[in-house]
Amino acid sequence: MNLEPVVQNLVFGLFVGGLYGIAAVGLSLVFGVMKVLNVAHGSLVMLGGYATYWAFTSYGIDPFLALAITAPLLFLLGLALNLGLFRFVTRLPEDDKIKNSLLISFGLTLVFENLAIRLWTADERAVQTSYSGEGFTVADIVFPYTRMSGLVVALAAILILHVFLTRTYTGKAIRATSQDWEAASLMGIDVQRTYVLAFALGTALAGVAGALVAVGYTVTPAIGLAWTLKALVVVVLAGMGSIMGAFGAGILLGEAEALSVYAFGASYREVVGLVLFILVLLVRPQGLFGRR
């Protein structure tokens, strides 16, 4: 039996999985800390993609270098969204909080999608760098440069987030707030400020994911909900609130999809994630890395 197509699929699965992971980590961070489901997360990924595209076509900035601009830009957008909208939701009791946050973020999805159509039209966009389509080959397995760099960027972003959450006082306050916000407030942590920071970080991570989408795949104004769904599946796989677990689950989903493409053909690709989703909910409702 020829193993080469299997290995090649696994390699691509890893690249895609890294992207799923980075898209899901932002959503998981926001959900875990604020207990708010931001359905517009995928739209933020989309905006990150367009920001990268715009920096590249208008100013010729390399998409990976552009992260130094796009990530802070999305961070600021996250700050604005929280201070302007979500801040009023997070003070509500648990039930109203989840309902109202769903309404607001669904609304935002529509707003961002139509805004993107006006600004960039509904055409598919992608960043074509001079090294797009090139790569190196090891034992007949192809490693495209853009995808490789994308995975490295995703890993770096996760590593930075991990160090921030485990080594700094502010990062630990974010974890404390996600585990028990009332107790956190009794420690002297300003919970509302922690929410603002977590949301802005989640948005910046969406921006990073968006940049990787623009480089490796295509961006259209309509991809928002699809990315939200993908990220949501990954977050549930990992366990709600397991921030680092989301990255692992992303890789897992990427590999599962890749293997299914090999085994059943590309048309069943989307089914795999949902089947996994249901299986995990049945067998391990707290998620793969969740605590109960």
Partner: protein, 251 residues
């Protein structure tokens, strides 16, 4: 006209608290002086926890005032109240289970001033609870009940409080462990920290405290010196009633 006097750290003045349509406290007043131990006893559902949460800023009163050293604390968020030196060890301990013992303690010293002094405070807390030093890198969720309560108290001490509020610290703990915890409270108080303690274990609590309040159905039913309470008929019957015959015989 309500007058604030020197030496009164916490002055709860006629507060009423409600959860939605359900009123839990009715014009409750209570005072804690500097360095004092005050105990709050009463049956389940009397409003002890609500009163504690109101003082800590988690459940703001809809009427009445809460003064901390004369500063209007009602309606302030919890983190502002911690800054003023009043910290709550909540019912059920409420640790951060996925974080290590040391991280939990660090969170206790979150405020600017406590954070600056945290190494010294940490040494002090480890002196009081050596077991927390032994287990510093262990996840808080894996500690035993008694150790978790010690961590909850240690974490509160990290904020350098002048008034420590404790809500049912003995709940679910073995009698020997409860004795240790009460001994620690005595020790902490000896260092000048005032204590307001809500407790089911009325006998031990009254022996520890100088003054006591009895809360019944959301109102203060009685208040006075803890010694007198130990003697009072009403208190003996309602809260110290179950004197085991074996203990009686052994006297």
């Amino acid at each position: 006209m309500h007058i604030w006097a020197w030496g009164i750290m916490l002055d709860v003045h006629a507060i009423s608290v409600a959860y939605g349509d359900l009123q839990a406290l009715w014009e409750v007043s209570l005072r804690v002086q500097e360095g004092e131990i005050v105990v709050l006893i009463g049956p389940n559902g009397a409003g002890k926890t609500t009163l504690m949460r109101a003082v800590a800023g988690l459940q703001p009163p809809f009427r009445g005032r809460i003064l901390i050293d004369g500063w209007e604390a009602q309606g302030q968020p919890p983190h502002r109240i911690v800054e003023r030196g009043v910290v709550l060890v909540p019912e059920g301990r409420r640790l951060f289970p996925g974080m290590t013992v040391l991280e939990n303690l660090e969170m206790g010293a979150y405020g600017r001033n406590p954070r600056r002094l945290r190494e010294a405070t940490l040494r002090r807390v480890y002196e009081i609870f050596p077991v927390l030093h032994e287990r510093r890198d262990q996840a808080a969720g894996t500690l035993s009940g008694g150790q978790q309560q010690m961590l909850a108290i240690g974490r509160a001490l990290m904020s350098l409080p002048r008034l420590l509020l404790l809500d049912e610290p003995s709940l679910g703990l073995a009698p020997l462990v409860v004795r240790d915890i009460f001994e620690v409270l005595r020790q902490v108080n000896a260092q000048g920290v005032a204590v307001l303690l809500a407790e089911q274990n009325a006998q031990m609590a009254l022996e520890l405290a100088q003054r006591a309040y009895i809360l019944e159905q959301g109102r203060v039913a009685a208040e006075g010196a803890a010694q007198d309470m130990l003697q009072a008929d009403h208190v003996r019957k309602a809260y110290l009633g179950q004197v085991s015959p074996i203990v009686e015989a052994s006297k």
